[in-house]
């Protein structure tokens, strides 16, 4: 059967789009509303995933305690980066964030005793025992599957991830509509002006950074549960830039543009996976993998040229000075 016609495949694409939605929502809070150029979002995602997995496997904690701690650890990571780095100019801050996410990845690769090293979470336990961190999660998923009467676990995961994504989108949307969110937008527009209006710009930026990092932590949890195994290589900087593409595709400063961008990105990414017709069949499979990235790049360049404000963004806002 053609994979593109398989329900399971598209359910998987939908799950990944949901995880990316949560990851990119964090960036939307940080950049779309507070103007923070965070190029290290994947680092917070890794902290969330690893904290949960380590607490469950090594400490034997309940998943339902380890998961919120994973989110808290990601948010704390945001605070730790922000405290020294938010005083820097925007471009230097961007460099610090990307360096931070690479440090997280290198630590995860080299601190074998803590993280399982480059072998990933399979090596979290003692040598010779393959360990799993998602036992409790799988039981919950099975329970939900039976309650919903679904036959596929992919479809169940799809429903769970998007239910959580919609709740997080709604809460974020509501919070950003408050006077607190208004101050963030003021800082994005002109932080000196905001400061001279009596706003503690540093404190607000720190909060936005931590909130966005916490959302990345949530994305990390779902990433871990979806794949039931992960390694430091899963948290390459490329993932951060996928989240940025989603943000640009959807549109800046609009919460509901994030899922739209994630779905469009997910379908472009998945749809270019099987270029098994002419003229693509003229190339070998290695070359085709690169060709796919070139095609994704071209599609995104075209979209940004035709709609620089993103699919749901406001073009007028872009030209105001």
């Amino acid at each position: 059967m053609n994979v593109l016609a398989s329900g399971g495949f598209w359910a998987f694409v939908g799950v990944v789009a949901g995880i990316y939605t949560i990851l990119a929502l964090g960036l939307q809070v940080q950049f779309g509303f507070a103007g923070l150029l965070n190029f290290g979002q994947v680092g917070f995602m890794a902290i969330g995933a690893y904290t949960m997995a380590i607490l469950v496997v090594k400490e034997g904690w309940s998943t339902w305690l380890a998961a919120p701690l994973g989110i808290a650890a990601a948010a704390t990571g945001g605070l730790l980066v922000g405290l020294p780095a938010l005083r820097l100019r925007a471009d230097y801050f961007a460099i610090v964030t990307i360096a931070f996410s690479e440090i997280v990845r290198y630590v995860a690769t080299n601190e074998t005793a803590l993280t399982g090293g480059s072998q990933g979470t399979i090596a979290l336990g003692p040598i010779g025992t393959a360990t799993q961190y998602n036992g409790q999660w799988s039981r919950l998923q099975t329970h939900v599957q039976h309650s919903l009467g679904f036959s596929s676990s992919d479809a169940t995961m799809l429903v769970i991830v998007w239910a959580v994504a919609v709740v997080l989108l709604t809460v974020t949307w509501l919070v950003l509509r408050t006077p607190w969110g208004r101050v963030l937008r003021a800082i994005r527009d002109d932080e000196d002006a905001a400061e001279s209006l009596g706003k503690n710009v540093f404190a607000y930026k720190l909060q936005a950074l931590a909130l966005g990092a916490a959302l990345a932590g949530v994305a990390g949890l779902f990433y871990a549960w979806e794949f039931s195994f992960f390694s430091p290589d899963d948290f390459q900087p490329l993932l951060t830039f996928f989240a940025w593409m989603i943000l640009l595709l959807g549109g800046l400063g609009r919460v509901w543009a994030v899922p739209v961008g994630a779905l469009v990105f997910g379908f472009i990414f998945a749809g270019t996976r099987f270029l098994d017709f002419a003229p693509f069949t003229w190339f070998g499979s290695d070359e085709r993998a690169y060709l796919r990235l070139i095609i994704i790049g071209l599609i995104i360049v075209l979209l940004v040229m035709l709609r620089p404000q993103g699919l749901l963004g406001n073009r007028r806002e872009m030209v105001l000075e």
């Binding site: 408050t178 527009d189 002109d190 000196d192 001279s196 400063g253 105001l320 000075e321």
Partner: protein, 253 residues
């Protein structure tokens, strides 16, 4: 005295932008701060407003030292500045520009937003009513929903002024309020400043290159040159002071 600046020094590398400036601003006065380009006026402004820290010297406002406080704390104490080019929040509506200009808003803190939602809503309603009053005051009520980035230069100055007033300041620092403003609006802006001093007792310290405006509006004028205060006095005293003429025209006139 509402504001006392005492021996303030601020250097940038080898440049002593402000080099021991001392001046005072009387309560309810309009004080003009003039001087040639590079005299240190803008730097002194930034140190009073808290966006720059002085290397040495003291700045006392209403009996409290403010020279070690960050800008947002100085602003919430009632010392509010404007910038040469009005720094309106271009991608926000004119109304939102005013709504941001409020202090102690429980809705602006995540903790109080969650614990005291009613207080936040009540404060928001009061702020909204005040914002509409201030828009009407400067004649921008027809533009409440427009992006501030669509306003003209003069309208931005009026919006900036309205935004400053929202904070109920006791001392307003105006940085070249007349720069880039059409002549018709200049008269309006001057009237606003005089009325605000009269009706609300607001004190103004104004950096301005338009000497005609300074001499008409100010009760006292402070002249800066090369980072120091050259002289201070009434507009008439300053106008006839030979040092001032030298500073502006060069010694060999």
């Amino acid at each position: 005295m509402l504001l006392e600046v005492d021996g303030v020094v601020r250097t940038f590398g080898a440049v002593r932008a402000v080099d021991g400036a001392t001046l005072s601003v009387e309560d309810h006065s309009i004080t003009g701060l003039i001087g040639p380009n590079g005299a240190g006026k803008s730097t002194l402004f930034a140190t009073i407003a808290g966006s720059l820290r002085p290397d040495s010297g003291r700045i006392v406002f209403a009996g409290r030292r403010i020279d070690r406080r960050p800008a947002h704390r100085v602003a919430s104490l009632g010392v509010v500045r404007t910038y040469q080019a009005a720094r309106v929040l271009t991608r926000m509506s004119v109304l939102d520009n005013l709504l941001v200009a409020t202090t102690h808003h429980p809705g602006e803190r995540l903790t109080t937003l969650a614990t005291r939602p009613r207080a936040a809503r009540a404060h928001e309603e009061r702020t909204r009513a005040r914002a509409h009053e201030h828009l009407a005051l400067v004649g921008l009520d027809g533009h409440a929903g427009a992006y501030a980035g669509t306003l003209s230069g003069g309208q931005r100055k009026l919006l900036d002024l309205a935004r400053v007033l929202m904070l109920e300041p006791s001392l307003v620092l105006l940085d070249e309020p007349m720069a880039g403003v059409a002549p018709a609006l200049r008269v309006e802006l001057l009237d606003h400043i005089l009325a605000l001093r009269r009706d609300r007792g607001i004190t103004f310290l104004i950096v301005e290159h338009d000497l005609d405006f300074v001499m008409r509006a100010a009760d006292s004028v402070v002249v800066m040159n090369e980072g120091r205060v050259l002289t201070a006095g009434t507009p008439d005293e300053v106008r006839t002071n030979e040092d001032v003429v030298d500073a502006y025209l060069g010694k060999a006139h």
